[in-house]
Symmetry: C3
Subunit: 129 residues, 3 copies
């Protein structure tokens, strides 16, 4: 059910994008307990000047043109601890695997309701509670 | 007031995109009772590898590169039955009109408040209740 | 913390896009009291036919291909008056500075929670209240 929008520079290679997508997906399944196989991601690639970040340090962080915006729409209910672990895992893994600066990993979560999804076939797959 | 984001392969033609937009718009007006004329849609076209879906069947569904992601931001308050009818109508109509596989019609709804919209002129058109 | 998505025609110049981004950012800081420096914006440029608006007048407004969609994800809690002032400031300023028709300034706000953000480093910068 999560829908993930990932916006990043077109200087990232196809292979890097795949690792980014796999990393976010794995964190959703392993940490946030999304169902296995629930992998729906939209990558939008950007030219210079289309992704704007603070020019100076913000809250002690500095950003580069390699900033990766990850926005996850999912069903409400994840705890604060799960969200913290999700952020930690994504940033650490992207840094380890392909050297993205942790400061450049930017994540926003948006809660939706169970009835707000149709994964295909015109059905509402999740009954509201 | 709905804002609709539609992300799809650049293999869809301009005519197909128009039908997709008209279909979603008609379902919003006819089923979800959006005001007539309230048609604001953003299409983003994607190259191969930018729209990621499960590689294997997920919840019994299989997806192709023709997957169409429809995300609707609108004012909260639609019932579960209305949302179900909305999903059904969009998937069935796109299948009938231009042969999109129903499994490839993917929809997410995001609820906003009445005061969260300015349709132009710098005004808040809907007063909060 | 706000994440701003701006979708607009590719007929806007780089300089115009910069003014648009700076205008939205200034309104967030000056009016909506976002922290100074909190400037994260994603511009997506669109070809003809990708941004759909009502063909006829809607609620008394007419739109052109120069429509600018601004969608702001931020932490919930802004008052209705603040939101009104935000809309007013963005539309008026864009009109004054680069002549965008006020009817073509379209804004949607999406509320998120405090714990729904990681601005980098894998941290949850804002503790939930």
């Amino acid at each position: 059910m999560p829908l993930v929008r990932i916006n990043l520079s077109n200087s990232y290679s196809a292979e890097e994008r795949q690792i980014i997508g796999d990393t976010v997906y794995s964190a959703m399944v392993d940490i946030a307990k999304a169902p296995a196989g629930d992998k729906f991601l939209i990558f939008t690639r950007h030219a210079d000047g289309e992704l704007i970040h603070p020019a100076a340090a913000f809250m002690g962080m500095e950003y580069t043109s390699k900033i990766v915006f990850v926005q996850v729409f999912w069903v409400a209910g994840r705890s604060t601890d799960v969200k913290k672990a999700f952020y930690r895992n994504v940033a650490d893994t992207l840094n380890e695997k392909i050297g993205i600066r942790k400061e450049d990993v930017w994540i926003n979560l948006v809660d939706c309701a169970r009835e707000d999804w149709s994964f295909g076939n015109g059905d509402m797959q999740y009954a509201p509670k």
